[in-house]
């Protein structure tokens, strides 16, 4: 968490290999990634990292299910297997009945859930989410938070950049940033004890 311009999104982009650092090193899952080639970074993102963006970044011309299976097809999975996995994920995010819809026919919350399903497509080590609720209204934000909570409970690692205190409410660890540096690192659990639910808004 942190104020605008403190470097949260840059940190996330560095972690995902979307941007290269001007100084220093970036390590992810025991691999140094700042020296990797574009091709190696692409492979890394394909297999180990899932992204969720504030503005969804779905392919407008592809349906929901086609957007979700995009990463699996890129990873070389067979079309049939990729489709099965995409349908399972859409079902998990509650959008199985919207699988054939184009993004333009979905609400903001639904689009973000499609983006989350896409991020989970290749069973990544970590999902990096950049202000995932920034463009959503309260109802849609709750839908996404509920989903994140389910993922966390299921053991999925999520790194979420946010302004939203309600997201912080479901986090195990909160790192605060200011002026490009960490100013606070609170390990709230290690277990789920002590963490609240999104429904109360605050722990």
């Amino acid at each position: 968490m942190g104020p605008s311009g403190c470097g949260k999104s840059t940190l996330l982009h560095l972690l995902g290999g979307l941007q290269r650092p001007t100084h220093g090193e970036v390590w992810l899952a025991e691999h140094r990634i700042d020296t990797m080639s574009e091709r190696a970074l692409a492979r890394l993102r394909r297999h180990h990292v899932g992204f969720v963006f504030q503005s969804f970044h779905l392919m407008d011309e592809l349906t929901a299910v086609e957007n979700v299976e995009l990463a699996a097809l890129l990873a070389g999975q067979s079309p049939r297997r990729a489709r099965q996995r995409a349908m399972t994920l859409l079902d998990r995010v509650g959008l199985a009945d919207r699988a054939k819809h184009l993004p333009s026919a979905l609400s903001g919350g639904q689009r973000q859930r499609v983006a989350i399903a896409r991020a989970l497509s290749n069973e990544p080590l970590v999902v990096l989410a950049d202000e995932p609720t920034g463009n959503l209204d309260s109802a849609a934000t709750l839908e996404v938070l509920r989903l994140f909570e389910e993922l966390r409970t299921g053991g999925q690692t999520l790194v979420v950049v946010t302004h939203d205190a309600r997201i912080a409410a479901v986090a195990d660890r909160i790192i605060s940033m200011r002026d490009g540096a960490f100013v606070d690192d609170s390990r709230l659990a290690g277990t789920t004890v002590g963490t609240g639910t999104v429904y109360g808004g605050w722990r």
């Binding site: 290999g17 979307l18 692409a42 963006f53 407008d60 990463a71 890129l74 290749n122």
Partner: protein
């Protein structure tokens, strides 16, 4: 692998379907260039093939011998030739008279040859309309008949003797109108004319006592004997080889062919600019798409593959359209009055043409798209996900100058500084258009008549060249117009935000629109200024003979018209865009 292939195909098909207008415009641009090149290459065949076909069909001679002398002296000079060593066949000697023919009130120089109905060993003209010669009738070479507007059944007067036109026929033994070589008896100097055939029994009467010339057709056992020379004068006999006649006929379409080939290169340049223009219009979207693909794990090769596949498919489809259109149009430029047998269009285009045109279409598609795709693939993903315009470099003199500029000019300069590549595309667009228009004006200024004694008739060479140039210019202008519309719309859409900011600072809608018009007019003026001398130079390079220049007022009027079109095309969408409230524009730009 199957999955990735499916993904490439899916993204390609969906993107093409989503951008139907852009797809159609891209196809139009590349097809125009491919079509013109097909036409140019088809005319390349037209230079040689029809003559060869005609020569085979009419048993054309290897060499035609015509003594300088006339009457019995000419017959005596020709007498030993049929039995000369190496001669395997001959026909003639046929009587010839250089007379005047009147048709539809026009009197023209005409080469009249006397023939009979019996089949000859060499030079058997093929009748293309009506019948062969008979007493009281005349058969006219088709190009000559076209120029005179004479048809089978009409009546003409040869040296004052009325004759009925009984047909038209083609031959390989003499060049077609206007190169049938009319001359005053006994002279070796030739003048423009056309060829007609009459019954040999009548030619003496028609000539009114004028001594007749004679011509003898020869075939040699050694083909080299006829190809080692073009024209030769030996022992008072002129010899014309079939290669000289083929060359004369080829000149009819050679200039048109050059005009088409050069036109196809101009169109190619314009098509590249057009494709680059359209691609530039969607580059922001494309870069986001690249960023998105990178974010989900696509490597540079995959990204390049996805984008190139789309444009290569477009290139292939455009090649097919261009080949078909060019192939179907070719006969219109080669057939009418060609005076030779066969048409280019009835045969499918040669493999060489197909390969060249396909390669050109693919090259256009690749050239215009490769750079943005590779740049986007190599860009940081985060930068690819956002649009970044070029930041103008800050210089003290620029700041000083900008403070003294009128608001519209300042806005125009700033817009061009922000998107310099787009300004260059506008310059190329107007440069190519103006070059072609200037060359066309040069073509229009030329004398398209040929002098046939008392009357001037249309010169088929000039007419055909102008036809070819008009075809190129029409296609070029359509393409340039499409380019201008695409370019101005994308520029207006792209400049919405800076124009809205300018309006918040006090610029009026008219100033903002004028600023957009200035942004397009600055590079367009440079293009027009360079295009005029380039077009004139291009025409001078291609054309032969005496050159006439069009009045300066023509050039000035066309240049101003081009600039006016650019200004209007820009100002209208810009004015429409300024009707939208500033706050809305700023809000939508931020989102």
């Amino acid at each position: 692998m199957t999955g990735r292939l499916l993904l490439v195909c899916r993204l390609m098909v969906r993107d093409l379907r989503r951008r139907r207008t852009e797809t159609v415009l891209l196809l139009l641009a590349i097809s125009a260039a491919a079509g013109t090149l097909t036409l140019g290459l088809a005319l390349d065949n037209a230079l040689a093939r029809p003559y060869e076909r005609t020569r085979a069909a009419t048993a054309g001679p290897d060499v035609v011998a015509t003594p300088v002398t006339t009457g019995p002296d000419a017959l005596a000079a020709l007498a030993p030739l049929p039995t000369a060593p190496g001669v395997t066949a001959h026909s003639g000697p046929y009587p010839m008279a250089y007379l005047m023919m009147t048709a539809h009130g026009r009197t023209v120089q005409t080469v009249v040859q006397g023939r009979d109905a019996s089949p000859a060993a060499l030079d058997r003209p093929v009748v293309t309309d009506g019948t062969w010669v008979r007493p009281g009738g005349v058969v006219i070479e088709p190009t000559f008949a076209n120029a005179l507007g004479v048809h089978t059944g009409d009546t003409v007067e040869v040296n004052g003797h009325p004759l009925r036109v009984v047909g038209t026929a083609v031959t390989a033994a003499r060049a077609v109108y206007p190169r049938a070589d009319w001359r005053f008896p006994g002279s070796i100097l030739v003048q423009s004319s056309g060829l007609v055939w009459v019954d040999s029994s009548q030619i003496g009467t028609l000539a009114d006592g004028q001594r007749l010339s004679y011509t003898l057709n020869l075939r040699f056992v050694d083909p080299h004997a006829s190809t080692s020379f073009h024209n030769m004068l030996r022992d008072g006999i002129e010899y014309h080889s079939w290669t000289a006649i083929a060359d004369s006929n080829g000149r009819l379409v050679r200039q048109a062919h050059r005009a088409l080939l050069i036109g196809s290169w101009l169109l190619t340049a314009l098509a590249v600019a057009s494709v680059a223009n359209i691609v530039a219009g969607r580059v922001v979207d494309q870069r986001r798409r690249v960023g998105l693909l990178k974010a989900v794990g696509a490597g540079p090769a995959m990204i390049a593959g996805v984008h190139l596949a789309e444009y290569l498919v477009l290139g292939l489809v455009a090649a097919v359209i261009g080949l078909t259109a060019g192939w179907l149009t070719a006969p219109a430029l080669t057939n009418p009055g060609a005076g030779l047998l066969g048409a280019t269009g009835v045969h499918p285009p040669a493999l060489r043409t197909v390969i060249t045109v396909t390669a050109l279409a693919l090259a256009i598609a690749a050239a215009a798209t490769l750079a943005p795709v590779l740049r986007a693939a190599a860009t940081d993903t985060v930068h690819a996900l956002v649009d970044a315009a070029t930041s103008p470099r800050r210089r003290r003199w620029r700041v000083w100058l900008s403070r003294r500029m009128p608001a519209a000019l300042l806005i125009g300069v700033r817009i061009n500084a922000r998107r310099p590549r787009r300004a260059r595309l506008v310059m190329v667009n107007t440069l190519v258009t103006m070059t072609a228009l200037a060359a066309l004006l040069m073509g229009l200024a030329q004398d398209r008549q040929v002098d046939l004694g008392e009357t001037e008739l249309a010169n088929p060479k000039e007419t055909r060249t102008l036809q070819a140039m008009l075809l190129v210019v029409v296609v070029l202008c359509v393409l340039a117009l499409v380019n201008a519309i695409v370019s101005t719309w994308t520029a207006v859409l792209d400049a919405r935000h800076p124009l809205a900011v300018a309006r918040t600072l006090g610029a009026t809608p008219v100033q903002a629109s004028a600023g957009m018009a200035v942004a397009q007019l600055l590079p367009a003026t440079l293009g027009v200024a360079l295009g005029v001398p380039l077009g004139i130079g291009l025409y001078l390079t291609v054309s032969m003979g005496e050159i006439r220049y069009p009045p300066a007022s023509w050039m000035l009027a066309v240049a101003l018209a081009v600039l006016l079109a650019v200004a209007v095309l820009t100002a209208l969408p810009a004015l429409a865009a300024t009707r939208r409230p500033v706050a809305d524009v700023l809000r939508s730009a931020r989102a």
